[in-house]
Subunit: 245 residues, 2 copies
Amino acid sequence: MSDIDFHQLGDYIIHQISIDCVIFGFHEEQIKVLLLKVDEKNVWILPGGFILQNQDICDAVNHVLKTRTGLEDIYLRQFGVFGKKDRHFNEVEDEHFRKFGIEMGPDHWLRKRFISIGYFALLDYSKVETQKDKFSLECTWVDVNDLPNLVMDHKDIVEEGFEAMKNAFIKEYIGFKLLPPEFTMAEVQSLYETVLQEKFIRSNFQRKILGLNILDRLDKRMEGKPHKAPYLYKLKDDWESVRTF
Amino acid sequence: MSDIDFHQLGDYIIHQISIDCVIFGFHEEQIKVLLLKVDEKNVWILPGGFILQNQDICDAVNHVLKTRTGLEDIYLRQFGVFGKKDRHFNEVEDEHFRKFGIEMGPDHWLRKRFISIGYFALLDYSKVETQKDKFSLECTWVDVNDLPNLVMDHKDIVEEGFEAMKNAFIKEYIGFKLLPPEFTMAEVQSLYETVLQEKFIRSNFQRKILGLNILDRLDKRMEGKPHKAPYLYKLKDDWESVRTF
């Protein structure tokens, strides 16, 4: 999409539909979400975009994720649709767009009602190279429990995305996608304690996690500590088929 | 939507977005899905519709559900978005619409690419009064494991909806919404056996289900059999908060 001028974009996209991505990372005992700052007045938005008429929606989403994080093949899930009748992009003032040489006006396609399709993505924080777009001042990780001022209903989208992520974390064990491909049990426990906001006893936690039967223990241990080095684990290929009934 | 003529509908709706509803019922040891037959040549479609410019998307979905089933407050969940770039409503021939006095032509709004938002609904089969629309010949329950010929990607939508339903059935125990508000353990077991396609031993099944701690046993028993009448159960109000980790 980047090679199409914003003025002309309206001729190429499906009007009144957007996508918004709630991109989660795990770092220093925080679940972080990737946001774009669009204004010195501390106004933030979610990474998102539009769908070209000749583009599959999944390609549009992957384009957003790749552009903001540098990563491909990110674990993602569509979790909600935001379709209130008064959902207009009116909070971002014309003045903001004027700074980038865009004259909005009241009849601009971006001023119409938009239905937005929400996706959450889970990735390995350490691999991400964040990248702002030309309409924003920065692209930064923010603690999901300490969100700044977000435009429109973007705070609701983050919160619903976080609820959907937590629900799938508890019931479908997707959280491992926030870790590197190989991880220690201590990293898993720290992640669970962060998301569920409670402390677990190490031995009980390990028994419960291994009892899920979705992890393989690797033959190698974590590097750097030849003695007492912790075991490394990885997700089994068929981890998604685990049944809870 | 019913009071707007189909010719004029294009002036009132958001173009290129539709909703499709996979409505599930449980009857005679089958999971059934509600479909509309649109053609003597045995072509079927999902109940669905469009979103008026001044209508919340959830109201549009509830309107579809109410119109087809007569019911309100149906348990529903948005489960997917169908957004392939070649997703056109081209299989239903102009001839079909001509029968209802509608001249489609190649530039009609219904011929554009559509992104469809998929919802599944769970309801008490015995309460439903199905209602066809003016473009269809009948509105009928069909065994989800024995689907007829569906237009476009509607078969994929049913199958993805069924997968999403089964996943939530196993991991979030939503299946009780397919039963009447008060039910016996035998009805629960029959439902589980139908969805999971396996048989359970009665005592083990009962222990497992009651162990979930999401059911209340009522003081009354099922009517009709004064002696040995089975107990009735209902879902607890907070059943959705059950944790599996």
